[in-house]
C-alpha cells in the first residue's frame, strides 16, 4: 500500500523533516508511527496524501508514484485516502449528518447514495441518533467519531490518523481505537501517528519509530519503546 525508499523531505525553511526513510506497508496492515514531537510523523502522512512533495527518494501510495501525480490528478488520488486529525476539524455550523455528507457532496455522489452511506457510517461509529446535532453539543470522543465517519464514508483503501487520541481521555481513546481496529478488520489499511504509549503497547501492532526524521525501529508486534 505504501512503499518508501530513501524518502527525504526538506522544507523551504531548511528543516530536514525526513531523511532517507525506507519502509514498506502492506495492504490491510495496522501501523503505528511513533516518535517524539517534531520527529517527522505528520510530515510523512502529508507526503502520503500529497500535501507535500518529497525532496528526494521514492514514495508510492496505492501503486502510484506520489512525486509523479499531476496536479489535476490529486483530487481523484485523495478520494481513496481518509484522514483524521487530533483536532477533528469538523464544521461547527454543520450538523453531524452534514459534516459527514459533506465529504460525499464535494465529490458529487448521488443524494440517495449519500443518505445511505452517511447512515451506514454513523451507525458504525454509534452516532446515528445524533445525526441532527451540532458538533458543539458533542463530547470530544463523539466529535472524533464523527470525523472518523467522515474519513471512511468514501470507503478509502487507506486511513491516515494524525494523533487521533491526542485530545481524548484514556477511556474515550479506547473507543476510537476499537473503531479503528474494526475498520482495519474490514480491510482498510491504517497508519496512525501517535504519542500514546499505553495504546501502542496494548494494541501489539506494527510499530515504526522515527527520531529526528530517521527511522530508528520497525517492529512487527511492538511496544511504544524498546524494553531495556
Amino acid at each position: 500500500m505504501i512503499q518508501a525508499r530513501r524518502l527525504t523531505k526538506k522544507y523551504g525553511n531548511g528543516v530536514l523533516a525526513l531523511e532517507n526513510l525506507s519502509l514498506h506497508i502492506e495492504k490491510g496492515e495496522f501501523v503505528f508511527l511513533v516518535g517524539p514531537s517534531g520527529a517527522g510523523k505528520s510530515t510523512f502522512l502529508n507526503l502520503v496524501i500529497r500535501r507535500e512533495i518529497p525532496t528526494d527518494g521514492f514514495l508510492s501510495v496505492a501503486g502510484r508514484n506520489v512525486t509523479l501525480i499531476k496536479k489535476q490528478e490529486i483530487p481523484l488520488f485523495r478520494r481513496r485516502i481518509g484522514y483524521i486529525f487530533q483536532d477533528y476539524k469538523l464544521f461547527p455550523n454543520k450538523t453531524v449528518g452534514e459534516n459527514v455528507s459533506f465529504a460525499l457532496e464535494v465529490i458529487e455522489v448521488d443524494p440517495m447514495e449519500i443518505r445511505d452511506r452517511v447512515n451506514f457510517v454513523l451507525d458504525l461509529v454509534g452516532l446515528i441518533h445524533k445525526t441532527e446535532v451540532f458538533p458543539s453539543e458533542l463530547s470530544g470522543g463523539e466529535q472524533q467519531r464523527v470525523s472518523l465517519a467522515r474519513a471512511i464514508v468514501n470507503r478509502p483503501l487507506l486511513l491516515l490518523a494524525d494523533e487521533p487520541t491526542g485530545n481524548l481521555d484514556p477511556d474515550t481513546s479506547w473507543e476510537i481505537m476499537e473503531l479503528l481496529r474494526e475498520i482495519n478488520r474490514r480491510g482498510t489499511t491504517i497508519v496512525m501517528a501517535t504519542h500514546n504509549r499505553e495504546i501502542v503497547d496494548r494494541m501489539q501492532k506494527r510499530v515504526i519509530a522515527l527520531e529526528k526524521g530517521r527511522l530508528v525501529r520497525d517492529e512487527r508486534k511492538g511496544g511504544y519503546a524498546v524494553e531495556a
Binding site: 489535476q72 483530487p75 478520494r79 464544521f91 464535494v106 458529487e108 467522515r150
Partner: protein, 290 residues
Amino acid sequence: MKLRTFRYFFREAWRGLVRNRLMSLTAMGTITIALMLFGVFCLFTTNLQYFSNLALGRIEIRAFLSESARNYELLKAEIQAIPGVQRVKFISKEEGARWLEKALGNKGLFLGGENPLPNSINVYPARGANVENIARQVQRVAGVDEVVYGREFVRLLHIIVRLIWVIGFGLLFLVMLAVLYIVVNTIQMTIYARRKEIEIMKLVGATDWFIRWPFMLEGIMLGLGGALIAVIIVLEAYAFLNNRLGQVSTVLSLLTRAEITPYVIGGFFGIGIFFGALGSLLSVKRYLSI
C-alpha cells in the same frame, strides 16, 4: 457538472455575500463608482466624437468670387471636379445678404445702402475628406477671390478628441486596478472565513474548480450588483442632462438615451462580471495550493 451542484455553488456564494455584508456592499459600491466614472468618460468622449463628426460633416468652404467672374456654371463645374467635393451651391449676393440678415437677426441691414457682399459658391466636402486640401485647390480656381472655412476649429477638434482619449485611458486603467483590488479583498474575507472548509474539501478530494466556483459566483454577483446600480444611475442621469442640454442649446445634439442603452448595459455588465470573476480567481489561488 450536476444541477444540484450548481445550486450548492449559488447557496455558498450567497452565504459569502451575506456573511460579509458590509464588505460586499463596499465592494459593490466601488464597482458602481468605477463603472460610473468609466461611463461618464465613455459617454463624454463618444458624444464629443459624435458632435465633432457632425460638425465636420457640416463644415463648408465658402469661395467668394471676384466681381469679374460671370460664368457661374463653369466655375461650379470646375470646383465640383475637385476630388473630395460632394456638392456645390451658388449663393448670389442677394441670397448672401438675406442669410446674413437672418443670422444676425437684423432685418433691413442693407436696405438703404449698397449690398457689399460678393457672389459666392458654397463647397460641401464629402464625409471624411481633407477639408484643408480642398480649400487650397478651390483657392487656385480662376475667378475665386477668397476662400473661408473653419480651419482652426477643425484642427482643435481633432486635437481635443485625441487628448481626451489618451488621458481617459490612463485614468481608466487606474480605476480598473482599484476595482480589482477591492474585489480581491472582499472575496479574500470570505475565503479566509472558510479556509478550514477549503482544507477539508481538498483533503476529501474536491477538485479545484469545485472549490473555486462559489467564490467565482460571489465575485460575479458583486460585479453584477455594482453594474446594475451603475447602469440605472448613468442612464437616468444621462437622460436628465440630455434633456436639460436640449432646452439650453439647439446646436449641441447628443446621442439619445435609447441609442446608448444597449452599450451601457452590455459594457457595464460585461466589465462587472469580468472583474468580479477575475478578482475572485486571483484571491482563491493562494488557498488552493495544498
